[in-house]
Amino acid sequence: MYGSSDAAAPAAAREFVDQMNAGMVRTGADLLCSLLQQAGVDVIFGYPGGAVLPIYDALYSSSLRHILTRHEQGAIHAAEGYARVTGRPGVVLATSGPGATNLVTGIADAYMDSTPLVVLTGQVVTESIGRDAFQEADIVGITMPITKHNYQVRDIDTLPQVIADAFHIATSGRPGPVLIDLPKSVTSGPARDAVLPAPDARGYRVPGHPSDEALTAIQDAIRQARKPLLYVGGGIISAGAAETLRRFARVNQIPVTSTLLGLGGFPAHDELFVGMLGMHGTYAANQAITNCDLLIALGVRFDDRVTGKLQRFSPHSKKIHVDIDPAEIGKNVPVDIAVVADVGLTLQALLTDRLSADTGEWRAQIAAWEAEWPLRYRADDTCLKPQAVIELIAQRTRGEAIVTTEVGQHQMWAALFYPFSEPRKFVTSGGLGTMGYGFPSALGAQVALPGETVVCIAGDASFQMNIQELQTMVDYALPVKIAVINNRFLGMVRQWQQFFYDRRYAESRISSPDFVKVANAYGVLGLRAATFDEAKVAIEQAFAHEGPVVIDFVVLEEENVFPMVPPGKGTDEMTLEWEG
């Protein structure tokens, strides 16, 4: 029954009930569901609460699918996983106050990694806003610096345009999260059904084609270069430009290095691929970035984990930067040719001619670096090495699985040892570095693509940050394979303590429950492996199993990620092996 104490005024409520009974109108929440469906939404990740009761009531009779997680943070990371593997916006719904604030980490994560999300939060009734009402939080104020844009809908008549603009803004240009705050009085109040209008955000411009002037400048630079290098990032994947990039690199025989977020944007097995660059980049990639004479940066943001010490970053190169976000141009590194445009359209326009001179000598030099120090680790028969686990998973899935990770050492090993050959297969928290991201994002990926193999490579510590989502996985029968790389430590923290704090392992040793028993308690298959042979058997068993599996890989405690560019050093000052 409508017209509760929440409604704006008794008279208005009575009128609304009369109109409802006459079949003239529905609620704001019904309109919301209708608009979401018109915007192409098929699934919402969420968690109910007081301020979103009208929305849940509308969902009850809607054909929209809702995935109920066990924590709002699980819901938003799941939505991020959904968005990252499909390219479509993930949609999240949470209540006001704590529900909304529990989304904040996920919103910041999506903002850093340019993941398209539409985040719906409940809010207290409009008359209570600003009065510190029960479960009131100023989520619009809180999320201003971590959203691409946000709205509070105080008038139901503005909702259609807000929804249209929110989806347009979240998914176009440089994608990102958009939040819509919905007071309960608006979603429970009357509304007429409406057609989703065309987006109309006047101050919002999406760059497209590069100018002829820019293209000529790029072409001239490539023609003159002897040692060109493509430095590509997540923008290649957002732009859907992986295939164009592959053709461009091959036609011009230009080697390619990728950021963490760009992995899969260029095939790992391609002979032009030099590997990931940066703090844990390959020796060859970091040598190439230091020694190239032309750096072609596409859809990247010169993050500090990539550049190392700025003064030593690629000191001999002319730099081209193509990005759809004008604010990224020159933000960290001054560039010579800056192009605000879509990277896919730019590469397409450059494909007309073979541009580069003979790069044979340069490629031979890179091959020599690769031979000098290939990606490797010391195999050890007496224990299980984490890198070996990643390699076994890669073999079993033929490098074709969707892999999500948590954050830390296992994340870097996944990036280095799992050969991604297609875009949208690697789901990881790069910019914000969010522990607790990997497992829920795997669930979202599996919801989006039920036919794909989804593997979550987790650490023992970060898996525990959102371990409650095991029940979500069970509820929706999502057959995710969770590989816990269990080293009984916050591994990356421990590595830094070993290198820079004289092995004083302050609070980085961390205990875990018996993951096999935890899995079993949820009705999930749990396996354990502590040797290479056991790992092989467990992986075989896990991937032969139809449902979800948790595998506890008991690995060597003090294994480190190499190469490593120590903080404050240049990319050419890598530590290749620890001699301490």
């Binding site: 201003m144 844009h149 101050g203 497209g208 400048a217 020159g330 800056a338 192009v339 605000v340």
Partner: protein, 191 residues
């Protein structure tokens, strides 16, 4: 160098917070900010006075442009502009100082907007240097309160606008223009 940025924004709740928040988060300083309704209904014009080198100014403009409620951004630091600020200055008076103060005020073309036995309040309009100069001259008499609006500015007619490098404009570092320094205090009174 000092930067003057003219921003046309949607007149919506929270817009000032978005802009002020972005400036604070990115470490850009705000010397003054003025906001008022613009020529078109539903829009406001802000004039932000900040400081920074060319690279920082480009970042300010680009980061402002990213805000959805920002319609247009122009860095008018090196353009021919009309810049004005209004100040109210309360100064102590005595029988003996009053004629002297009146003598000082005369060439500034100020309005005396309030007079009491012990103080008077003058309203002065002009560019920053003019207001600074007047305040400097009044200080010895005892300035008890000052309220300044901050600078607001428009491009002069016929000046080619520059600013945000559009979607398909290749990035050009700003070329150091010759400094435009209006030393003449009273030059501004020519409207």
């Amino acid at each position: 160098m000092e930067r003057t940025i003219s921003v046309l924004v949607n007149d919506r709740p929270g817009v000032l917070a978005r802009i002020a928040g972005m400036f604070s988060r990115r470490g850009f300083n705000i010397a003054s900010i003025t906001v008022g309704t613009a020529e078109e209904e539903g829009l406001s014009r802000m004039t932000i006075v900040s400081s920074g080198d060319d690279a920082m100014a480009l970042q300010m403009v680009a980061q402002l442009q990213k805000l959805i409620d920002v319609i247009e951004v122009h860095d008018i630091s090196r353009e021919q502009t009309v810049k004005r600020e209004l100040a109210l200055v309360k100064v102590r008076i005595t029988k003996t100082t009053r004629p002297e103060i009146a003598h000082i005020l005369e060439p500034f073309r100020v309005s005396i907007v309030d007079v009491g036995h012990a103080s008077l309040t003058v309203q002065v309009t002009g560019d920053v240097q003019k207001i600074d100069a007047l305040i400097g001259l009044l200080r010895p008499f005892g300035v008890t309160e000052i309220a300044r609006t901050g600078v607001t500015a428009l491009l002069r007619s016929g000046v080619l606008e520059s600013g945000f490098a559009g979607a398909d404009t290749p990035y050009r570092p700003l070329i150091e223009a010759e400094a435009t320094n209006d030393d003449d205090l009273f030059e501004t009174e020519r409207e």
